[in-house]
Amino acid sequence: MKRLQSQRGDRRGSAAVVALVAVTVLVGLCGAMLMIASRSSSEGGSAVDRHQATAAAQAGLGEALAQAAAGNLAPIGSEDVPVPFGGGAYWVEVEPAEDGGSVLVSAYSEVRGERDALQALLTGGALDIYDHALFAGNSTDDPLYTMKLGGLGGQADQVTGDVYSGGSVLVEGDASVTGDIRAQDDVTGASGSEGVYQPIPDIGAMNYPTTADFKVADLFLTAQYKSNDLGGKAYQVAETSPAHIFRKNPSDRAANINATQKHDYFLEDPYEPVHTDQGSTGADACPITLSGISGEPGPNGNQKVYYIDGNLWIHNKSIFSFKIDHKEASGIQVTFVAKGNIYFSDNLFYDNPQMDGVAFIAMKDDGVVDSGNIYFGDPVFGTLEQMHAFMYAENNFIDNNLSATGSAQVAVYGNMTAGNQVQIQRDYGDQHSKLTVNYDGRISAGSLMMPGLPRANPDEGGQWTYRATRRIARP
């Protein structure tokens, strides 16, 4: 192939170079402008997303606070399953604060990669222990703790009133709860609210050793060791003493008292005639009379707190039932606080069920491992069938009726509460002894004024109180 070859030499123009430079400059400028526009747009978009993330977190917090106001403070969504909101999502976590009487509500949000987190402090507590038929605060944070109710047919447990567990709740068999069930963990076998936190009372803040009206152990410094129809020989004080309603370390119950570490005080009145109430109906309950009322000698023992540095027993070998006997139109209201354990083996009835109130508080003794517990039931003699009282154990409430000779059924009129666990152990082989709890709402309603009760929220009127919100680190 032939090719023409120019003989004009290298006479190329500069226009191409100029055009190239111009195009390069223009492209560069356009690129820079685009970059500015892009950054500006991105900045604007991020600002909008940040605001939306804040709005989402505020929405989550608002939702949780609204639930708290309704008495149902619980987590909303989770990091894995957040609640969709405004093009993003949020979730809310609820955790007890260090003081145990307040909670931290943390709301986290994310909108297109922008995150925000807000935290609110609530104090008080939506509900108190006296708003519940059964209450277990799970103060030891035992992840395995489950409050169990069970039984079949006529022997199935029945609870009328609200139930709270700081762990889980298991309702199995034919057991039933007529009331709300709330738990920090799982509710199984019945409908209920999960993830709910309830504070527990601060027993230490009550300072019972100082504030109690009667220090029973001190009053027993003048006690004499005497025999009585109630059984054996025991330390007793004069009838004029408010502490005369106790007998200390009775000899006929040596097996009981030898098994405990501290002194043992038995609630029984050596100055009243012995009644046994064999039918456990309360019709023939053994009377206990308080000093200073209804014609009894001594200082007024009504509307008082009795503090016992030792164990407290409601247990007599020949008596089935006790009651605090009186003629007071406004009833009697007394609180017994034991720094040790409380053992219930016999029945306790109210003389006037509409007006009377008796509360038992078992508080821990730092020097005694087995303390702050309520042992409820008599697996040996099986004579506990009815208990009319409000009962709180700072440690555990152990409902113990294991053996075949235990009561076939036990009914509580009041409540069973514990700072840690309520352990209901009512199965033995294929048998189940029935637990009936009929919640007494008079304290909650304000119609029964008990002296010296520990409250989880003494000032808040049963409602969570919003304190403040702060921004926290984004997750």
Binding site: R3, Q7, D99, T469
Partner: protein, 215 residues
């Protein structure tokens, strides 16, 4: 491969006139490109400066709004419709054992160092009597910390003149480039900022936001 030579006419170069015309045209083209490039560069610089000013203004306003949103009600003291060029308040920083732990804060506009309130550009930055936004944390404590959030704040808010009148119609009289006012528990923040851009032109940016107090 064979090539065939084609003879050309005897025109070996440009004439002087042709060369001069070409050079002139090229010079004009280079000049035009250079001028365009320069203008575009200036526009880019100004755009950048405007963008930076806008971003920093909004970020400062957002930071102040975030701090104020969770303040307690003490911030409302001294505010109201009349407004103020500074706010002092407390914000929760921690919750310990059910108790709110707060920190005192102040946000204010103060004269920039080297600048006097004399209607002159004392520090030679092209701005007159300008202010700056300062955030003070742990106010009046040994741990007090001051942070300059933004400089170049206008002495007066956009549209306002120092004449004891509400020139810009926002309800405030002679308000500073940074001002706060409240209506109930809603606090309004206003910010006017200036910068001298490339070529000595003064850029201005004004922003305004309102926050409802949460605590």
């Amino acid at each position: 491969m064979k090539t065939r030579r084609i003879p050309l006419p005897a025109r070996a170069g440009f004439t002087f006139v042709e060369a001069m015309i070409a050079i002139s045209l090229l010079a004009i083209m280079f000049l035009a490109v250079a001028q365009t490039s320069s203008r575009a560069s200036d526009a880019f610089d100004e755009g950048s400066a405007d963008h930076i000013l806008s971003t920093s203004t909004h970020r400062t306003l957002e930071r102040m709004a975030q701090a104020i949103e969770y303040s307690d009600a003490t911030i409302l003291a001294g505010l109201g419709y009349l407004g103020a060029d500074q706010v002092t308040f407390r914000v929760p920083v921690d919750f310990v054992a059910g108790v709110v732990v707060s920190r005192s804060m102040q946000v204010l506009a103060e004269r920039e160092p080297g600048e006097l309130d004399d209607g002159q550009d004392n520090d030679g930055d092209g701005l007159v009597d300008e202010l700056r936004v300062v955030e003070v944390v742990d106010l009046n404590t040994p741990d007090e910390r001051r942070t300059v959030l933004l400089s170049g704040v206008s002495e007066l808010f956009d549209g306002e003149l120092a004449n004891d009148a509400d020139d810009n119609g926002n309800g405030l009289i002679d308000e500073a480039g940074l001002s706060f006012s409240s209506d109930g528990n809603v606090v309004t923040l206003r910010l006017s900022v200036q910068r001298r851009g490339e070529g000595g032109r003064v850029l201005s940016k004004t922003a305004e936001t309102a926050v409802r107090l949460r605590n």
